[in-house]
């Protein structure tokens, strides 16, 4: 937890020399506490004090990055147990497991599928970002060759999996520049794996059976000066998996247990052989704090629900998600297709566009910027008032794309149709259904004539 200004002040030289740019040590301490100044500005603090202040002000769950560039996966940095308190920071990395004992053709097929798994939603690209490469053969040369083949083919956050430091060392030679996660240091290999991780400056996972063993290993690695760690507590069942995730997060946040202040890595496939159930365990782990979720099979039907899950849980609860203000074409609308208008609250957009799509009636959907507010709220706040709606209808250019002049407004806003007709004298305002679910029936009987 961050130190207060007074606590920091006690550790400063109290000479008020002013070299930090503010006149007194106390003023400097206050600035530090609020993040407006950096400790390096004071040349007189000792290394010990610097370490103490750094440690005390470090985030309770270490933020770290796996991979580089576009596909870098950020983990950790979480500050709350419940998403309504403050948004969850970094969605979990979904990783597909591949092994050096798999046939080349299988690996290639899995990789090409993996590349295809990309979905656009609310202007965001959703996709699994990581590959977990397993050195199951135990052969350093074979594993390194396998790693090379994969990283040459695809850009993704890499997890290297081997319990053998010598096998890991070879694989790291191939891809250390990609900042892979080294999985894993165990009780027996902590020192060797720790040294490897230090040498290549890559994050390191800790694998222990149970939290006590995990803590013993992280403690040792922290002592060696390692900072970017990831935890695997090897739970034996689903119940324990949930418990471990909760206890890790809570210990780090509430009790500042520094040995547990790291993102986690989880393997739902170790808890079941059923692929469908594996997806459900993954879905539970998304909501309950996992940092990385390694899954054994990725198909559209299991990855898509997991990506939605992650999007939902990690959405900022304080800020409604909004879609872009524009004319959306659904099902290839023509000049005699209906025109509907609604707000740009993403949920409204999804539900309305989904219903229009399922009606199979091609339509123009006008999405007006309401700052992410739903129709009724936007109307109450003056963001969906007749004059602004009229202005948008005029400037969006829809009039040039259709022959008719009929505009369907949300049923809840029936009251504004008169006013809107005054603002848009060339148009006929139609009141649509109140519930989006009734849109298909409405659209089917709609006619431009």
């Amino acid at each position: 937890m961050a130190l207060s200004g007074i606590e920091i002040f006690k550790k400063l030289p109290k000479t008020n020399c002013g070299e930090c740019g503010v006149p007194t040590c106390l003023a400097f301490a206050m600035k530090l506490a609020t993040g407006q100044a950096e400790l390096v500005a004071c040349p007189y603090v000792s290394d010990d004090v610097r370490a103490a202040i750094d440690e005390a002000s470090a985030p309770p769950i270490r933020p770290l990055t796996i991979g580089t560039g576009d596909r870098a996966v950020k983990l950790g940095g979480e500050t709350v147990m419940f998403r309504h308190e403050k948004r969850f920071e970094n969605p979990p990395g979904l990783a597909l497991v591949l092994s050096d004992t798999m046939d080349d053709s299988v690996v290639n097929e899995k990789l090409s599928k993996f590349k295809d798994l990309e979905f656009e939603r609310v202007g965001l690209i959703l996709r699994p970002q990581m590959l977990a490469l397993k050195g199951e053969s135990g052969d350093a040369g074979k594993f390194a060759a396998f790693v090379k083949r994969v990283v040459d083919q695809i850009d993704a956050g890499i997890i290297l999996m081997s319990d053998k430091p010598e096998v890991m060392a070879e694989a790291l030679k191939i891809c250390k520049d990609k900042k892979p996660l080294i999985y894993a240091a165990t009780r027996d290999t902590a020192e060797a794996m720790g040294n490897l991780a230090k040498e290549v400056a890559c994050p390191l996972a800790v694998k222990g059976s149970g939290l006590d063993e995990v803590m013993a290993i992280t403690d040792k690695l922290l002592g060696m000066g390692l900072k970017d760690l990831v935890i695997d507590s090897q739970p034996v069942n689903v119940k324990k998996a949930l418990e471990d995730q909760v206890v890790i997060r809570r210990s780090a946040l509430v009790k500042k247990v520094k040995q547990l202040g790291f993102p986690t890595i989880t393997f739902p496939g170790q808890l079941t052989d059923n692929k469908m159930k594996e997806t459900l365990i993954a879905s539970l782990l998304i909501a309950k704090y996992a940092g990385i979720i390694v899954i054994s099979e990725m198909e559209g039907h299991n990855v898509f629900p997991l990506l939605l899950d992650s999007l939902n849980i990690y959405t900022d609860p304080q800020r409604p998600m909004a879609v872009e203000e524009k004319v959306y074409e659904i099902g290839g609308p023509r000049e005699d297709s209906p025109i509907l208008i609604t707000s740009n609250f993403s949920l409204t957009y999804f539900i309305v566009s989904g219903e229009v799509e399922s009606s199979r009636v091609p339509a123009w959907l006008l999405i007006k910027d309401t700052e992410g507010l739903s129709v009724l709220t936007a109307w109450a706040a003056g963001k969906f008032a007749a004059d602004t709606v009229a202005m948008f209808v005029k400037k969006c250019g829809i009039a040039d794309r259709v022959k008719h002049r009929k505009l369907v407004i949300p049923g809840y806003l029936a009251g504004m149709s008169g006013e809107l007709e005054e603002e848009l004298p060339d148009w006929q305002i139609l009141v649509g259904p109140r519930e989006a679910a009734h849109l298909p029936a409405y659209l089917k009987q709609w006619s431009a004539a």
Partner: protein, 315 residues
């Protein structure tokens, strides 16, 4: 190094509510910790799953959802029976969609007749879910409550607009009410206070916080449910200490992605597995947020959730 688990101290407990009557009656609630946090509390009564039955033949269901019920969709009683006999349903939820004035607008008498048949066909607890039009639901649920007096049906959605009428018949004919509010903790509490003032006993109230599907607003329900549970258990908010019901099957299966065929959405994999996983993942998240009763559709999704419940609640 032995870790001392930092525990939350819970001061509240969720009320236990009996569903249905007779041998097959169930009890839900009774939690003394956040859902499935068995390392610091109890959850001795399992969350339950009610299988959906519709009062009119569904027209817009994707093949994945229709297939398990294809032979019974036009006969609600046979449908309910199939759910119980073939799929092992522990509860039934009869969705009275055809009463909607914007749709088929079937009368209260017709709805009551269908309900009667379903109630006679199975002996498990039954939820009766109206069309979400306050006026029509009042009329329909009142008639059903009367015709099925003493059966302890779970009837809803009961809203601020019709709680007085439906609450009164629930008291009179001994049913349980599902108090429904639009994703808002304060409104949920307010409605429970009103029901209490009206005289609905605590043992006969369930909360419907309003449910959205995965990808379609689930996050809002998830957080409201977490907050309701938090207030109930740690802030002793007595009027929120009721079990929660989530009517999720219909929300999931009406989404675009649950309906699309392989041709329409080649990147989304197998349509059956996709729909099943979307429903099950939605249910899983709602359970984590505090759901006690899930209203679900697909037998496979239900099977997966039961499996997860067994794992999560294992001794």
């Amino acid at each position: 190094m032995a870790l001392e688990i930092p525990k939350v101290s819970y001061s509240g407990k969720i009320k236990e509510i009996v569903l249905g009557k007779g041998d097959k009656a169930l009890t839900v609630g009774g939690e003394t910790s956040y859902p499935f946090y068995l390392f610091e509390g109890q959850m001795s009564l399992k969350p339950r799953i009610a299988m959906e039955v519709y009062d009119s033949t569904p027209e817009d269901w994707p093949p994945a959802a229709l297939e398990p019920f294809a032979d019974v969709v036009s006969d609600p009683a046979a449908w309910a029976k199939k759910c119980v006999d073939t799929y092992g349903a522990e509860m039934i939820a009869l969705q009275l969609v055809s009463t909607d004035p914007n749709g088929e607008n079937r009368s209260a008498e017709e709805a009551a007749a269908v309900t009667k048949k379903v109630v006679e066909a199975v002996d498990v607890p039954i939820i009766i879910w109206g069309c979400n039009n306050a006026e029509k639901d009042t009329e329909v649920l009142r008639k059903i409550a009367e015709d099925c007096a003493g059966r302890n049906l779970m009837i809803g959605p009961v809203t601020e607009a019709n709680y007085k009428q439906i609450g009164a018949v629930a008291i009179g004919y001994e049913h349980t009410v599902i108090a429904s509010t639009p994703i808002d903790i304060n409104l949920a509490k307010q409605l429970n206070i009103l029901l209490g003032n009206l005289g609905v006993p605590d043992g006969r109230i369930l909360i419907d916080p309003t449910t959205g599907s995965l990808g379609y607003g689930l996050e809002y329900c998830y957080s409201v449910m977490e907050r309701i549970r938090m207030a109930a258990l740690t802030q002793e908010d007595e009027r929120l200490q009721f079990p929660m019901v989530c009517n999720l099957g219909k929300e999931v299966w009406k989404t675009k992605e649950a309906k699309q065929s392989r041709e329409e959405a080649p990147k989304l994999g197998d349509p059956v597995k996709r729909g099943v996983l979307m429903e099950a993942a939605t249910a899983q998240l709602l359970l984590l947020a505090g759901a006690d009763i899930l209203i679900m559709r697909h037998p496979e999704a239900i099977g997966l959730i039961k499996d997860m419940l067994n794992d999560l609640l294992a001794a």
